[in-house]
Symmetry: C2
Subunit: 329 residues, 2 copies
Amino acid sequence: MKKFINAVENVEKEMLSGLFKAHPDKIKPIDCEGVIVRKEKSENKVAVITGGGSGHEPSFGGYVGKGMLDAAVAGAIYTSPAADHIYEALKAVATDKGVLMIPMNYTGDIMNFEMAAEMAQMDGIETDMVVTNDDVAVDNSLYTVGRRGVAGTVLVHKIAGAMAETGANLQEVKAVAEKAIDNVRTMGVAINPSTIPAAGKPGFELNDDEMEIGIGIHGEPGVKKDKLKTANEICDMLLDKILSDLDYSGSEVALLVNGSGGTPLMELYLINNYVHEALASKGIKIYKSFVGNYMTSIEQEGFSLTLLKLDEQLKTLLDAPADTIAFKE
Amino acid sequence: MKKFINAVENVEKEMLSGLFKAHPDKIKPIDCEGVIVRKEKSENKVAVITGGGSGHEPSFGGYVGKGMLDAAVAGAIYTSPAADHIYEALKAVATDKGVLMIPMNYTGDIMNFEMAAEMAQMDGIETDMVVTNDDVAVDNSLYTVGRRGVAGTVLVHKIAGAMAETGANLQEVKAVAEKAIDNVRTMGVAINPSTIPAAGKPGFELNDDEMEIGIGIHGEPGVKKDKLKTANEICDMLLDKILSDLDYSGSEVALLVNGSGGTPLMELYLINNYVHEALASKGIKIYKSFVGNYMTSIEQEGFSLTLLKLDEQLKTLLDAPADTIAFKE
């Protein structure tokens, strides 16, 4: 294992500490490990909160700030955050308008968010929850009943966060988050795995000429191993699955070309080039594209494509101001 | 070689095309390959321009826009841009106030920028040039007489770009760029190399327990190969060299923890954490820190540390608004 780390047991702690030191103008810790909140607590708006395992940086601490999240709760690498940490985050950001929780669909995460919500409700904090499940690769997985939440989650957070800033009530923010979830689909691929520091070896193995199609964000397998193909052919495979799952014909979309952490920006832009051509040929118009490392799997080399079907409301919310570490509009 | 590409001879072209498709609101091409200019041409300000080989994304196309660059000229991967391309870029962005060229110190780049400037001067375009050379690892290198320009270049562009936006004249913009260059130092390290697609194999080799200290941004060797150490020990090695080169004691600095492309954000934040502690112990105050992939070497796993000593003028310029793809203030 080649990594720039110190002791494996301190990686998450040192990383979070470095995150806070880098961005004291935007975020701050609270007296509970793994919880990242806005520097200035919001009032008179629904608070939006998420969480999940570490290893997906900049998800989700990088999206805490004006126009997106009020708090993110980071678990250990690829591990659900603890219910009592989520509970502390809920208490830290709750307003009179309530809190919308938007975790990704992993069994442990959902269980802990639900448990935390029950604790918070006993304190009189109103909460509700929607769950992202944008990955079309598999219907169920090692860690989920139903689809996995992956990179499309970031767009759901952007939209829900923008709606919350308008002063909308909890049901209105929930409704638009659900609309985003209903209209977003993702599929990914990888050519080199990630290594959890404490594990010391890669989460899966691929031969020099192989790729894993439909991979999850923790290295979970997807559809199949296949021989490495050209970028265009791989994009076609991903798009075929996405477009067969939801009818995007004639619509406008947001496109997210998301890197897994170790994929150079060079390749992500090259991929973006082809996806624009491929969608144009299918009569799908790209309203906006996002290219970069939004939801990673440590140093995994891979990428995912996300399409979010837009209507006028979603466009407005997607374009609304956001001032976070990793997402600025 | 495992990469998401199509034909190796088309990588640069497809990447640039994908860059333009992703950001039509900020940048546009001109009728000359490799040239990236602002969507709206600036007037009544000094134009600031740079260029260099591709493979360093988001450098430099990602920094074209309000508050930073007016144009960037991209050569083939790790290859100087052609003089006639730089000349076309100069013509595209020149204003009555002139153009400041800020390339990095590589012999081929300097030669081509100088040649382009001569051509532009025959057209009546006023140009001047400053050259970044922030890398303290080596005094000369394979491709340079004198020090190499590396990640600190991005901070020089930020400062010169901000000064140009104030309406300052060419000599004033040049002077502040020179001040930034005089006060910025960088040193890097890598644990895994990058592969130029057309070469098909890595630019250098390291054993499983080795790192290259003082590496350049094209994989050029630096000080020495060494056994991989902890992140903190590596930071100490880099800082020792930087701090022995320029006296930062008692000063305020901007810190750039720059990833080489394949290094996960997790590790860059962990590094940032320690560098804050190390500099504090030496009485050096960090005014602002930047953590991420600013100047990459395709998919190389490595990082560099950059310190820029600040005075009030440099602080103001560093904090001034910037609205580019990869640098927003």
